[in-house]
Amino acid sequence: MADLDELAAEHADGRGGARVRETAGENPFGEYGVAGRVRDGLRAYRMIAAMWIRSTMAYRASFAMTTFGNFAATSFDFVAILLMFSQVDELGGFTLPEIALLYGTSGIAFGLADLMIGSMDRLGRRVRDGTLDTLLVRPVPVLAQVAADKFALRRLGRITQGLFVLGYALTTLDIAWTPAKVLMIPLMVCSGGMIFAAVFVGGAAFQFVAQDASEVQNAFTYGGATLLQYPPALFAKDLVRGVTFVLPLAFVNWVPGMYVLGRPYPLDLPTWLAFAPPLVGVACCALAGVAWRAGLRSYRSTGS
């Protein structure tokens, strides 16, 4: 899926050259603390992303087609679930609307991270072909440049699809809504986006070392998103433990989702942990940031 996305992007907007002048020319960034660097990074990110959006919009028909393709491609997972439910009424004790809630929240959270920094998995290629060097000499944070590289608005297709499924879940589910449960939905989507974003950055940091291993990143990003589409009750206890305590993907939607659905969490975790996702998200991003810095510092150019 990722490969095709990139391919589509390359054909739709094959004019990377413009970016150099736009960002480097008018931003005399200096060294002034973390806050300043973050602000500069965000500003650079915005400008690079805006440039890619402009270039994509030069081919509107192609944009519409690839966005629809993105929507259709991501819909297939849900079609598979629908096909399963054409044969059974429950899966692991969960009904279709309940699974749709997990699917929708996982899809939107992953879609947000994918939209914002989904191009991070290209880092290995940049390390291999030496084009990362170009980014290093610009007075803009490298993370911002890599994250905004080939910013692809068509990835809204995945978010839209997730919204549809979540909408279906929320209208069909019979939930005793409380303010806390209502608030939980946007909260888990945003925190989930942060957790997935951290996985993207961490995976990219790993590629400084592994170079040729973008597929490993796919296993955690796309694989993680697929895993979270199904209820935790389906999976072996050790796997659930792993994605709760080691790579805390469970906080994207499993833990808070069980709270919304009024079901106990499989590992008997306390209910209040359902409110932990924002903290988990921030912690993951901080760790990913550390890993990124370590990776960048270890970078040795190929020299080509």
Binding site: D3, A8, D212, A213, E215, V216, F235
Partner: protein
């Protein structure tokens, strides 16, 4: 150099080319294994709810998952294979040089793609399958014969896979941008090959239709031969028929396209 030896050399080149990327292959094996685990657990839940769904018992369903992961790279069900490069050559005009060579364009790419498929079978097929057999109870045949029969079905499936992607790539002669066509083919392929769910789980007419389409030759056919659910000879006939039709269509489009080529100077 004889023609046969030429294409054998091209196939060996295709094999070696992919064998070079060892880290990427290991990473691919890892990803296939992770997805294999996720799918295996969902299938376990599904077959727990409805035993003998689609005529498979639980062990057969799990075997199907791991055959699917093994075929993922061989049949190019996930990402792009040679067609990406061919489209690029058509777009840039390099194809003119290829047409000038005293070799057959279709056979050349076929040989290279068969070399690639063989490598992917060994590099990305065997390990996930072994891993699956280690962690789950699979319905694997004990004698060598079903394995051999399955290998033939895999080879024929790879032929059909090539034939489909060759047709798709040639559309670039008219469209120049092959991304849309590739995306549609990829979507159709994932759906109708049985990568999402075995085709025998598809309900009613949709299932019947899916079984008739060429994509069922890629995954469902070899899996059913291995599981002893399909008669090998009937399966081979089905695969060969589609391969013949699709290769012939590819050849027709190729001759129409090459008549159309205008070589730009410069």
């Amino acid at each position: 150099m004889g023609t046969g030896r030429l294409y054998a050399a091209v196939a060996a080149g295709g094999f070696r080319r992919y064998a070079t990327y060892r880290v990427a292959t290991a990473a691919g094996v890892f990803t296939n294994t992770v997805f294999g685990f996720i799918l295996a657990y969902t299938y376990l839940a599904l077959w727990h709810e409805k035993p003998h769904l689609g005529g498979y018992d639980q062990a057969q369903a799990l075997t199907y998952v791991w055959v699917g992961q093994a075929m993922f790279a061989v049949m190019v069900l996930g990402s792009a294979g040679f067609e990406e490069e061919l489209i690029e050559r058509i777009r840039t005009g390099d194809i003119a040089v290829d047409l000038y060579r005293p070799v057959d364009l279709q056979l050349w790419w076929l040989a290279a793609d068969m070399g690639r498929a063989l490598f992917q079978l060994l590099g990305r097929g065997v390990v996930p399958m072994v891993c699956g057999a280690f962690f789950f109870d699979l319905a694997l045949p004990s004698g060598p014969l079903p394995w051999l029969a399955c290998l033939v079905a895999v080879a024929l499936g790879a032929l059909v896979s090539f034939a489909i992607r060759y047709i798709v790539a040639l559309w670039a002669f008219w469209l120049l941008d092959g991304a849309g066509a590739m995306q549609i083919t990829w979507l159709t392929g994932v759906f109708f090959s049985g990568m999402l769910l075995p085709l025998n789980v598809f309900p009613g007419a949709l299932g019947d239709l899916a079984r008739l389409l060429p994509w069922s030759a890629l995954l469902q056919a070899p899996a059913d031969v291995l599981l002893g659910e399909a008669d090998p000879w009937g399966t081979y006939a089905f695969q060969l028929a589609w391969a013949a039709v699709l290769l012939a269509v590819g050849r027709l489009i190729q001759s129409a396209a090459t008549r159309k080529v205008v070589v730009q100077g410069g």
